[in-house]
Amino acid sequence: MTGQNRKTWRLDWNIAFLSLALGVTGLVLIYSASSSLESSFFAGPFGRQTVWFISALACGLICTRIPMPGLKSGAYVLYGTALILLGAVLAAGRGDVHRWIEVSGFYMQPSEAAKIACILMLARFLDDHSRLPQWKKLVYSLGLTIPAVLLIIREPDMGSALVFCAIWGVMVLWSGVSVHWMLLFAAPFTALAAGLYLPVFIGFLCAVLVWAVWRSRSWWKALLYTGICGGIGMFSTAFWAGLPQYQQERLLIFLGIKSDPHGSAYQVIQSKVAIGSGGLLGKGFLNGSQSQLRFLPEQHTDFIVSVLGEEFGFLGITVVFILFFLLFVILIRAALTARDDFESLTVMGVFAMLAVQTAVNTGMASGIVPVTGMTLPFLSYGGSSLVVCFAGAGLVSNISMNRFLY
């Protein structure tokens, strides 16, 4: 990386290489997963994804050159626009599930673009108000994030809503809020969920008490706080009963307590068989019987990693895991070296978005996390997701190059 090179390309080659490698792997897997679907090249998933891939690259390159101060001043406007779009999807979406807006035959998911907007918004807020007391930072920033989360839950898209929560959590922690404040803040909400099942509730309250005593060194403060959590937990049954039945069902399915009538249990069994039968070296490209025989529904979207596991085995998994791990390490390093807080926070937001999706998606395919419908960054089929991943990578590269501007 000579200075000349740096100037002309203005690209962090590490990030560029890693995201490209992952993206191309995704294309190869989608080709394999959809090769048994008979359709013409451009109408089929592979053709469409190729088109998206090119758009995503262009979008990523643009993001490497956007001046960050400009993005910072426009952050709130961007986030507002994203909220309006999310509202529009609910109003104009198709079918029971309102996630997409159709633009000349391609379907867009505004919830994906909203992730980037939310990251920028939080980065600006936490940077502008870095001197606020910790609890105010927590409450205000959550208040700003909640509208997006609620709109996305309405779609319904629990997976994306979870990603937003993770982005918020990671960015708030990075901005200097201590873990203990975070726990203090989160405990009452957790109580609402824990209150549904008595043994869990009791265990939860004991944990809260021990932790509060340890932190505050004051028995009465700790007891008061535990009492508040317990009081809130009392309402959880009423809160639960107040939810419409379909939402109850959705939550139970999400938590893995109830099996999905549409067969997420079936998907997980098939996914595990696919991954496990791949063995050390895999069955070979286009030779996965699970993938090719179409036992796996949605194999090119949420379960792309099972195609990888089946056809390229543990070896393929290892390579992809290394790529992801390196990417995340580089992201954290970029956050450390960023020239200002806004840029540093933005990098961590992108890190949170990509890392949570990677962890949950692979966990889901291997059966240790409930099925939530989250895509695997850079690899899964889905245009909006791909574009946003590359846009995020582009932003990080942009920020990473800015450090040389001092």
């Binding site: 079936y266 962890a359 966990g363 240790i368």
Partner: protein
């Protein structure tokens, strides 16, 4: 955060540590699955993979209005081939002898209908017992072929009603794309025409799924645990408004001729009988029609696939005078007592317009003009009334619009008004002579039989216009009770009941009067009303029409008969109507 670089590093290290832990757990999980217990999963993948098999729901039955079964299901064997296997295998046996299809033919079917290289494609339905036993005998020589039971339609009654009921066929790609909601999938059998198509979503129910274990070559090795199976929801039965007796009679009367018959309740719009001829046998469609049969049907000069009652567009001839009379009465250009003298012809400009009665009808009033179908009377009435009011009146009776009957493919006919004639012949390119022609239902006027039946119903029902329909009730899922279909009504015709009464009296005289044109439709003891039409056309003999209702007071049935190139309305169509009135009332 400025000046707190060390804290930032601590935080970064914590994130890194968290990340590393999570990756280790995940990586360990994959290591466990793919390296330690790989052989377990490999075995399951090779031997016992689970495949989701769609189970087609039982298709709803069709009954006539008296609960007699018209269409039911019977089991039949179909032969399927898996494209992937078929391509890979070299067959040593004579495929043509076993399946009646050559290798190239099978390949062609697979190429055009495949949904995926592992999805079986239906290549032949309705296997005979001998074919089935031959296939069973050579089962081991035929990898990639499979057969199983599929229900096909069975037409158990004497009624043909081929256009009304409609046939089934395999869904096309286009049809799947038009219904993007996952209701249909490749290989589905769907209604292609008639009630089967219009009510396909009601009749087909919802498919269920079974999970079966199959080996790596796709052979079934047994049921999966069964807990995940979802049962199909059977389709709902439908009761039609058709009356088997009347339908049979109508088909019998039309046999060997080209034409259409509609028997309808003017008060509700329910269709008692609807026949078009020539038609085709639905039995030949059960379980798929061969391409040879299909060619015969499409190339037959009688066009048996045309659903004449709703698709034939023909000039109405003198039947049209009824609606001209309504327009004339409503605009006041005639009163019932207006008298014109018919000398057998009428001169307009330099042209002579003849009445069908060469001797002339002499002095006739409106009622007699309808009864005797005097052209000269209506030439003059039409010219006085004017094209605009005639077209408006006819539109209010439903001409040039679809009636809204619950069948696919209805035609609209043509109702010429000034703008239509301007468009066709150019501004001023048409003459008053054309109006005279239109007045007697010739020229550019085209109607469908069902439009005429509806318009005639409006005359019978004092202007109320019931929307014609074929479905009387849909059975509830519990199979015990029926959900009645309520009659629907369009906007009433713009004519007063008193004027309609004059027209009714004219129609009564046409059947029962001394010199009426429709005397052959007469039924002793029954007050039948009607109007005949004899529509000239360039293709030879005139089309014969009859449109009428009975009885005069509180009409209970409307009958429309048309015979393409069948001769005179009074001579050919009226007797058929008479026979149907007799069947209906006696």
């Amino acid at each position: 955060m400025t000046g707190k670089g060390e804290q930032l590093h601590i935080r970064a290290n914590r994130f890194l540590a968290g990340l590393a832990v999570f990756f280790c757990v995940l990586y360990g999980r994959f290591f466990y699955m793919q390296v330690i217990s790989s052989s377990f999963y490999r075995k399951r993948s090779d031997m016992n993979s689970v495949r989701q098999i769609p189970v087609t729901a039982h298709r709803g039955l069709l009954f006539d209005r008296n609960s007699r079964v018209l269409v039911e299901n019977k089991p039949s064997y179909s032969l399927f081939a898996v494209p992937f296997e078929f391509k890979r295998n070299r067959y040593t046996v004579d495929l043509k002898a076993l399946t009646t299809l050559s290798e190239a033919q099978i390949q062609h079917i697979l190429d055009t209908r495949r949904a995926g290289q592992f999805v079986p494609v239906r290549i032949k339905s309705n296997l005979t017992f001998t074919q089935l036993s031959a296939l069973e005998e050579h089962r081991s020589d035929l990898p990639g072929f499979l057969y199983h039971v599929e229900p096909v339609r069975s037409y158990v009654s004497q009624v043909r009603a081929s256009h009304v009921l409609g046939y089934l066929g395999e869904i096309t790609r286009k049809e799947i794309e038009q219904n993007g909601d996952g209701l249909y999938r490749p290989g589905d059998i769907v209604g292609k025409t008639g009630v089967e198509r219009e009510y396909d979503t009601v009749l087909r129910g919802r498919r269920g799924y079974e999970y079966r274990q199959v080996d790596v070559r796709g052979r079934e090795t047994g049921d999966f645990d069964g807990t995940r199976d979802t049962a199909p929801v059977p389709g709902r039965n439908i009761m039609l408004t058709l009356d088997s007796g009347i339908q049979e009679k109508a088909e019998e009367l039309l046999h060997g001729r080209a034409g259409a018959v509609i028997v309808m309740d003017p008060n509700t719009g329910g269709i008692y009988g609807m026949a078009g001829s020539p038609d085709f046998s639905l039995d030949s469609f059960a379980g798929g029609v061969s391409s040879r049969q299909w060619e015969q049907l499409t190339e037959h000069e009688g066009r048996p696939l045309l659903n004449r009652p709703i698709q034939a567009q023909l000039p109405p001839g003198s039947v049209f005078k009824l609606f001209l009379a309504a327009a004339a009465l409503q605009t006041g250009s005639v009163v019932p007592e207006t008298v014109h003298t018919c000398t057998g012809s009428f001169i307009l400009g330099t042209k002579v317009y003849a009445c069908w009665e060469e001797q002339g009808h002499g002095e006739v009033d409106l009622r007699q003009a309808i009864a005797q179908s005097c052209n000269v009377y209506f030439y003059q009435t039409g010219l006085v009334t004017g094209l605009g009011p005639i077209a408006d009146m006819c539109r209010s009776f439903g001409f040039s619009q679809r009636t809204g009957i619950d069948l696919p493919g209805e035609q609209t006919g043509i109702l010429p008004d000034a703008s239509y004639l301007d468009g066709k012949y150019g501004k001023r390119g048409w003459t008053r002579g054309m109006i005279a022609n239109i007045a007697v239902g010739q020229g550019d006027v085209l109607v469908t039989p069902v439009q005429l039946a509806c318009a005639c119903s409006a005359i019978a029902a004092r202007g109320r216009r019931a929307v014609p329909h074929l479905v009387r009730a849909v059975q509830h899922a519990d199979k015990r009770s029926w959900e009645r279909v309520r009659p629907e009504f369009s906007e009433p015709a713009h004519v007063s009941a008193a004027h309609l009464q004059v027209i009714q009296q004219g129609m009564y005289a046409a059947v029962n009067g001394p010199s009426g044109t429709a005397v052959l439709a007469r039924v002793p003891g029954m007050e039948v009303c009607g109007k005949t039409g004899t529509a000239q056309n360039p293709r030879g003999e005139p089309h014969a029409w009859f449109a009428g209702f009975a009885p005069l007071h509180n009409p209970g049935v409307v009958i429309v008969v048309v015979l393409e190139n069948g001769g005179s309305g009074g001579g050919a169509a009226a007797p058929i109507a008479g026979a149907l009135f007799r069947e209906f009332f006696l």
